[in-house]
């Protein structure tokens, strides 16, 4: 970095623009958080709120594991247990995983494409407040009656006859509010990426994370309105005398399942594709290599997205149907394994034989791939419908989707948070704590969920609040409960590290990892305008070019 010494012959840089940085709306910092339309502040609001909900959802999970730790436990009433798993699933999917990814996108996409804002800053801010309203709507039911029909809310159970409490209505409003929030954010992201890329940042140079956000946003825009419509139909069924899902009046409960999973299947990839993007960003940085197969990875991402839109029937293998229909959905689901295999092979090629830097983001990224691959392979069994007849709705399925959504999704999000924490906060995490926490989280995850595969194979259905001693499920359940509490401790360690490092971490500097994308060009944390100077982009890894140019110019200067 000798080039940062006083330049004499180096080309002129424009003056740093400080006068044009917008004045804050108010001098009170906390008021600014409410009024902000800055994509970074909205992103931070999204991420922090999502993490709060993550710990609420985690507490619910621990209470459930406590109840299931021993046979015939009477710690928690059946009603409370049903409310717990409904709140847990709803929280983790709609109030943690989806918004934390939206927050990361809001924070990072403009920085990665060299933009100074998102295309629709107010829409982006509205998205956050709608999401928060949805979360508050759901959690306000703690003071009344929480919903208890499961996060999938299948009618007739979620109808007015079998779920008369207004907790179910709160669930519907949560779904509508967070759904609209996701759509607004998706529109903002697509418009931003299409119109606001830095000069030279052509489509074939777009960072993979941004590509995955494009696919993620397209899936949201295509699939989510269908499910929002369905939830409005459920609302009118409950209160206004319609009978869309009421078999006694000519409706069909299966219609809900078709509409819900038309959204639910792509929703899995709405959550996972950005994680694949995160992995594709992190692996090259910590191996010091180029990402292997950039084009193949981007093609695979869009192949996965397209296939996810035509495979919702894989969730309906046990309803009245025919082998012909089931076979079509089975083949579609199996085909998703092809682009996923291509993705994983490209990642393996990126790291194979490389001398890697084992920092916490890389460890989480590898942990994410390791667990996701396990879940994906178990998923093959659930895609083959005769086998799914035995495994669906059992603890095998519980273990499999936690393997995919927690092992793949949450580990990927943790990789992202560890990787971009220095950018967002300007401080480094304590690496020793981060690595210790990773070890604990990884091992306790396996302890918690591997035995659940066995429970499912042994006939334990999901969503039961107790089981008898004759079932023989005690040992595995006890192991799983112990694992879940270790997992809780690990995640508290992660959170403590974040909280501590925000103020006590070492100064990060703009580019602590030697990143490849433009967000590392900006200071940490980035100023309100992101970039005083927007560099021209010549490749998919502009920071690598900039470092090379700097090195060669400082060499030539002797």
């Amino acid at each position: 970095m000798s080039a940062t010494a006083e330049p004499t012959t180096a080309p002129q840089l424009p003056e740093v623009i400080t006068s044009e940085v917008r004045e804050p709306r108010t001098t009170h910092k906390w008021v600014d958080w409410f009024l902000t339309v800055d994509h970074k502040q909205v992103g931070v609001l999204y991420i922090v709120s999502a993490l709060v909900f993550f710990f609420l959802g985690g507490t619910e999970a621990l209470l459930m594991r406590l109840q299931l730790g021993v046979a015939n436990n009477s710690l928690i009433t059946p009603d409370a247990y049903n409310q717990l798993f409904t709140m847990h699933g709803t929280t983790m999917l709609f109030l943690f995983l989806a918004p934390v990814i939206t927050g990361l996108a809001s924070y990072l996409v403009p920085l990665m494409i060299g933009a100074r804002a998102v295309a629709f800053p107010r829409l982006n801010a509205l998205s956050y407040w709608l999401f928060l309203a949805g979360g508050i709507t759901l959690y306000a039911t703690l003071f009344f009656t929480p919903p208890s029909a499961g996060w999938t809310s299948y009618p007739p159970l979620s109808g007015s006859v079998y779920s008369p409490s207004n907790g179910q209505d709160a669930w519907i409003f949560l779904f509508i509010l967070t759904g609209v929030a996701s759509i607004l954010s998706a529109i903002t992201m697509i418009a931003t990426i299409i119109t606001m890329r830095a000069p030279g940042l052509e489509w074939n140079r777009l960072p993979v994370f941004c590509w995955t956000i494009v696919a993620h946003a397209l899936l949201i825009i295509i699939a989510l309105p269908v499910a929002i419509g369905a939830s409005v139909m459920l609302l009118t069924d409950r209160h206004f005398g319609t009978a869309f899902f009421d078999a006694t009046a000519g409706g069909s409960p299966l219609l809900w399942q078709q509409l819900f999973w038309f959204y639910g299947q792509p929703q899995l990839y709405v959550l996972l594709l950005p994680v694949f993007g995160v992995i594709s960003e992190i692996l090259p940085v910590f191996t010091g290599r180029k990402l292997f197969g950039y084009k193949a990875i981007v093609r695979s991402i869009f192949a996965i997205a397209a296939l996810s839109l035509v495979t919702w029937g894989a969730h309906l293998f046990t309803v009245p149907g025919s082998s012909v229909v089931n076979s079509i959905f089975m083949i579609g689901s199996l085909l998703i394994a092809v682009p996923i295999a291509v993705l994983v092979l490209n990642w393996l090629a990126t790291i194979s034989g490389a001398s890697v830097k084992l920092d916490s983001p890389f460890l989480y990224a590898i942990g994410c791939v390791a667990l996701f691959v396990g879940g994906a392979i178990a998923g093959l069994l659930l895609a083959i419908f005769p086998v799914a007849w035995q495994l669906d709705d059992s603890y095998f399925q519980v273990a499999q989707f936690h393997d995919v959504i927690v092992g793949g999704g949450v580990f990927g999000v943790l990789a992202a948070l560890h990787y971009w924490f220095p950018k967002i906060s300007g401080r480094m995490l304590n690496e020793n704590i981060a690595k210790a926490a990773f070890g604990l989280v990884f091992v306790s995850f396996l302890i918690t969920f591997l035995v659940q595969y066995s429970l499912g194979l042994d006939g334990m259905p999901r969503r039961i609040y107790e089981y008898g001693t004759a079932t023989g499920w005690q040992t595995e359940n006890m192991i799983s409960t112990i694992g879940s509490f270790l997992l809780g401790i690990g995640l508290i360690l992660v959170a403590a590290n974040f909280i501590r490092s925000v103020s006590a971490g070492a100064k990060a500097g703009p580019d602590p990892w030697g990143g490849n994308t433009l967000e590392w060009f900006s200071p940490s944390p980035p100023p309100a305008n992101n970039f005083d100077v927007i560099p021209a982009v010549d490749s998919a890894e502009p920071m690598r070019d900039i470092r090379a140019a700097v090195a060669s110019s400082s060499n030539s200067q002797g």
Partner: protein, 328 residues
């Protein structure tokens, strides 16, 4: 005044040959040998967490079977796919672990990155597609033995004609001989009806069936969605209000005099007492079944008679309204 925050391309872009002043050096890496030890410990403990439960007690590694040919075929299919899957899993996890154990040095100092040349991507895609095709073919080979019942012994109960339901597969053995039982789910109990007449015999919770006979279950629900699942007798099938679903099984000759009992429970969340909605199937010999069914008919008739007597007695005493239809 225009705010630059919303004018992303306003300022001139440029090709940089030096970094802005705020730029500073990167963070130094930690020592490598300790990391390797920690990683090995991590891998070892992950491995242990896989197998410790296996040592602690019986761990199921495949779905239950033994009660019916379809359950056996499902396990066969599960094993083939599972073994292929485990091989793939071990290869991928091994490659990941190997990359971690190489770690700790300076970045980029090891072997150069593999070349992107050739047609690697096409080969990989082709390989993955072939893998998927193999899985699908194996499934279609096994499928008939899972969906179509084999012939059973003459059931001793006359088979009923099945109605064709347009989009729902109805299991049917080649000779058409089967015992059809209507299974009706409700919160939180199963009712089994032997026949489709109003006075057909029925029983709750424990179904009694003859062995070596193709049993076809007609699954219905009177309230919310339930799911019929006796693992050893094949897969689970949902009982959805307004529709009819089908399942079948053919249990072997019982090993005990009182019959073999297969247990299971409702597999679709159905409300407060979902966990208590258990089901069981008692398989007895066809001769025992005939006796049981006749006895059950008689028990129901006696219970109906006594309830009519009680009802008319109470009606006479004025305790309940008289609902007896007027005699013609």
């Amino acid at each position: 005044m225009n705010s630059p925050v919303f004018a992303p391309h306003r300022s001139a872009s440029l090709r940089l040959t030096r970094l802005p002043r705020y730029y500073s050096a990167a963070v130094s890496p930690a020592s490598p040998s300790l990391k390797k030890k920690l990683l090995l410990a991590l891998a070892a403990s992950s491995f242990a967490s896989l197998f410790l439960p296996a040592l602690a007690g019986a761990v199921a590694i495949e779905p239950r079977s033994g009660g019916s040919p379809n359950a056996d075929s499902i396990v066969e299919l599960y094993r083939i796919v599972g073994i292929i899957g485990v091989v793939v899993l071990l290869v991928v996890e091994g490659a990941l672990l190997a990359s971690l154990l190489k770690g700790g040095g300076e970045r980029g100092s090891a072997a150069a990155a593999p070349s992107e040349g050739g047609n690697k991507q096409i080969v990989w895609t082709g390989f993955a597609t072939a893998f998927v095709v193999v899985l699908a073919v194996i499934t279609f080979v096994e499928l008939p033995s899972i969906t179509t019942p084999p012939n059973g012994q003459a059931p001793g109960v006359s088979a009923q004609a099945t109605r064709l339901a347009s989009l729902v597969d109805v299991p049917n053995p080649p000779d058409g001989k089967k015992l059809q039982i209507n299974v009706s789910g409700r919160q939180f109990i199963w009712r089994y009806t032997y026949g489709d007449r109003l006075d057909s015999p029925f029983v709750y919770t424990e179904m009694v069936v003859p062995s070596d006979t193709v049993i076809v279950l007609q699954l219905q629900s009177t309230d919310v969605i339930h799911s019929w699942w006796i693992p050893a007798l094949g897969g689970k099938f949902d009982a959805v209000p307004g529709t009819t679903n089908y399942a079948w099984f053919k249990a072997p000759t019982p090993k005990t005099a009182t019959g073999d009992v297969y247990t299971g429970q409702c597999a679709e969340f159905c409300g407060n007492q979902h966990a208590a909605m258990t089901a069981s199937v008692r398989v007895v010999t066809p001769a025992q079944f005939k006796v049981w069914l006749a006895n059950q008919k008689q028990r129901i008739a006696e219970a109906n008679k006594s309830s009519v007597l009680l009802r008319s007695k109470l009606a006479n005493e004025g305790q309940i309204p008289d609902l007896t239809p007027p005699a013609n």
